[in-house]
């Protein structure tokens, strides 16, 4: 009890660090979830374009129906700017106020029909100017789609107005899509974000606090005093390990409670339990890894460096901050040697897992087994190091 009480007192001095990592986790999770929420639905973008229609010679008895249809179609799907004057148009394009300029030449509709009927070899063209960006590509796609359909129906239409009506009717058709899967992809993604980032919070929190506390207890002078005391040194080490274990479980429980607040509905689903189980297996890894570093490190100033290298390094390499899909294969190949890789891979798998069955859970259990293997390896190494350093001089 004496050692445990002293452990708690030393631990209390680290409260600011625990709070810091919790705040980082909450902020990151809240930010990610906000981003995730806006990508649940789909809303078509409306590119900014300028439309110059010179084919307005109806008063001359010419057919302008197709041009009018094209204008009305583009106005439906794009934000059409009202800019006049060559300089103003050039400026708007240069400063990306508009991405695309469509100029429909005079008599375009008449010439379109003439070309389709073989009355002329001159292919009518709509003039365009583009910034070449994503919006411009989308505007170009809309224009191409309209003209492609117009070319198909052109042979069967009497005039431009009829053709425009047919094209509009075709393009306004909608297909209803039903998603066969009942997977709550949004919720599971949020949970995966949270639990992936938990990799950093758990590793940093455990390594920082446990290394600092162990550095205090294992400082050469204090260690000597403990070793000459009547307390069995093995018992002392066991109490320290258990105390650190209790701290780690406490930290994990705080984070689990936070996840219940942020992604509670997912955690109560079938997959949610496995997120918890996976994070607990990883916690054992983080705890034993921290214990190993705590045994090796004697200088408290070195702890900061270790946290940065180990926690930040493995979080970046294994995809805790960046989606795994965006990481180069070579990086992921190297990441295999880190426990974080197996932990994050399981989270990513759980995000896509349709139903919970023994077959579906096999990769999850396999990865958790690897994590427990890592934990065992770390504790054996820590024990070995501790034995070697037990004697002074």
């Amino acid at each position: 009890m004496t050692v445990f009480k002293a452990f708690l007192r030393v631990l209390w001095q680290c409260k600011a660090i625990v709070l810091l990592y919790t705040v980082i986790l909450v902020c990151f999770a809240a930010f990610q979830m906000q981003t995730e929420q806006s990508s649940i639905g789909f809303l078509a973008d409306r590119p900014d374009i300028l439309l110059v229609n010179q084919d307005t010679a109806e008063e001359e008895g010419k057919d302008c129906g197709l041009s009018a249809g094209l204008v009305s179609y583009l106005m439906e799907y794009c934000e059409v700017a009202d800019i006049t004057g060559e300089d103003a148009i050039n400026d708007a394009l240069f400063y990306r106020d508009i991405s695309y300029i469509v100029t429909i030449p005079r008599h375009y509709s008449e010439e379109f029909f003439a070309y389709l009927r073989g009355e002329t070899d001159k292919k009518p063209a709509v003039e365009v100017r583009s910034t070449g960006d994503q919006e411009a590509s989308y505007a170009e796609m809309l224009l191409s789609r309209y003209l492609r359909v117009a070319r198909v129906y052109g042979a069967y239409a009497e005039n431009g107005k009829e053709l425009a009506n047919r094209v509009a009717e075709t393009l306004s058709g909608q297909v209803s899509v039903e998603v066969a899967s009942h997977l709550d992809t949004g919720g599971l993604s949020k949970a995966a974000f949270f639990y992936n980032f938990l990799n950093y919070s758990l590793l940093a929190g455990c390594i920082y606090v446990i290394c600092l506390v162990l550095a205090s207890f294992r400082e050469e002078k204090i260690r000597k005093r403990t070793m000459v005391s009547s307390m069995n040194y093995r018992t002392f080490n066991r109490i320290l390990l258990l105390s650190n274990g209790l701290f780690a479980v406490g930290l994990w429980m705080i984070y689990v409670l936070l996840s219940l607040v942020l992604v509670g509905e997912v955690l109560l689903s079938d997959q949610g339990v496995w997120y918890l189980a996976n994070s607990f297996a990883f916690l054992l890894c983080a705890l034993t890894m921290a214990f190993l570093f705590g045994t090796l490190v004697k200088n408290k100033n070195a702890v900061n460096g270790i946290v940065n290298v180990v926690a930040l390094g493995s979080s970046f390499l294994c995809g805790a901050f960046v989606p795994v899909q965006m990481l180069p294969k070579s990086v992921l190949w190297i990441a295999h040697i880190l426990p974080s890789y197996w932990y994050i891979q399981t989270n990513e798998y759980l995000k896509r897992m349709e139903n919970v069955s023994p077959e579906a859970l096999r990769p999850v259990l396999g990865n958790m087994g690897i994590l427990l293997g890592f934990a065992l390896l770390f504790i054996i190494a820590a024990n070995g190091v501790s034995k070697r350093t037990r004697q002074i001089g």
Binding site: R9, R225, Y233
Partner: protein, 312 residues
């Protein structure tokens, strides 16, 4: 008196170097034994071996009649150690530190509370119980270090240079505390470089060098080992070389030197040395401003035995 510690033919080797070479000595119950020696003489190594912090190459160490081993927890229960470096938690208060180190020996909360109270009083830390070590001065830190080592009321206490870098007031307080511990029945092994402390508190002294015992005995017994029996200093100016030569021939003189203002004469054992010298000075009409005689100190004995060359 019964021997509490018996060290027999202790040897400790580091590769080719013998840090302790066939060392044997005893510590009797209730005594304060001073362990003296220059840096690197093997004092700390000897203590670390006695406390089972170091494995030794040969010999045996018995404490309280039993072999001392790393797992001899019954023996360790009776031992208190105050290391040279202050060994306390920066994160705990004065009271919590003493409570922790006392708690490694005493499980009963009530007994421990009483013991802590007594240790705090002995170290004079009543007003600083809620302070953290970083808020304490060097002297207070040393006193806290001692309180942590002796709070569980050990029968045998190892004090490794507990007064290094403390002010005279704190040193006096610490030395009084050590005397009080002995009065309460503790046996103490005390290492220091301060000879006056040894003379003040130690019953017996062992002088170590190069891992061997050079001399052992009480302070008075050790002083008998000094080459000179008496040192006489005469403050005089303009002493002629011929007079110095004549003084050297006065008899019983081991060594005489003159630096222009002071004539220093080291006498071998003998009587009336000062009287003979005064008579000679009177005869030659040599006028002096001051003349005084000193007995050899423990420091002289220490330097005689261990040499005056610098150590690492």
């Amino acid at each position: 008196m019964e021997a509490i510690i018996e060290v027999k033919h202790l040897t400790k080797e580091y590769k080719q170097v013998k840090a302790i070479d066939d060392l044997s000595f005893e510590v009797k119950e209730g005594e304060i034994l001073g362990l003296l020696g220059p840096n690197g003489s093997g004092k700390s190594t000897t203590i670390n071996c006695m406390l089972s912090l170091l494995q030794f190459s040969g010999g045996s160490i018995e404490m309280f009649g039993q072999e001392m081993k790393p797992d001899a927890y019954e023996i360790k229960r009776k031992i208190g150690v105050v290391f040279q470096d202050v060994a306390v938690f920066d994160e705990l208060t004065v009271y919590e530190n003493i409570d922790y180190f006392c708690g490694l020996y005493i499980k009963d909360k009530e007994t421990r509370g009483q013991y802590i109270k007594e240790a705090v009083a002995l170290a004079g830390l009543e007003e600083y119980q809620k302070f953290r070590p970083k808020q304490l001065s060097g002297g207070l830190l040393r006193r806290l270090n001692i309180a942590c080592g002796i709070a569980h009321k050990p029968k045998l206490i190892f004090l490794d240079e507990p007064t290094v870098a403390v002010d005279p007031q704190s040193r006096n307080h610490i030395l009084d505390g050590i005397k009080a511990l002995r009065k309460a029945g503790a046996t103490i092994v005390y290492t220091t470089h301060y000879m006056e402390e040894v003379e003040l508190i130690c019953d017996r002294v062992i002088i170590l060098d190069k891992g061997k015992v050079l001399a052992t005995g009480t302070c008075d017994e050790l002083k008998e080992l000094a080459k000179a029996d008496e040192k006489v200093t005469v403050e005089v100016t303009g002493l002629r070389e011929e007079y110095l030569e004549e003084i050297r021939k006065l008899g019983q003189i081991d060594q005489a030197s003159y630096d222009g203002t002071s004539l220093v004469i080291h006498y071998q054992k003998g009587k009336n040395n000062l009287l003979t010298l005064i008579e000679y000075l009177k005869t030659k009409e040599i006028y002096y401003s001051k003349i005084y005689s000193e007995r050899p100190t423990l420091n002289d004995v220490f330097l005689d035995l261990t040499g005056k060359e610098l150590r690492d």
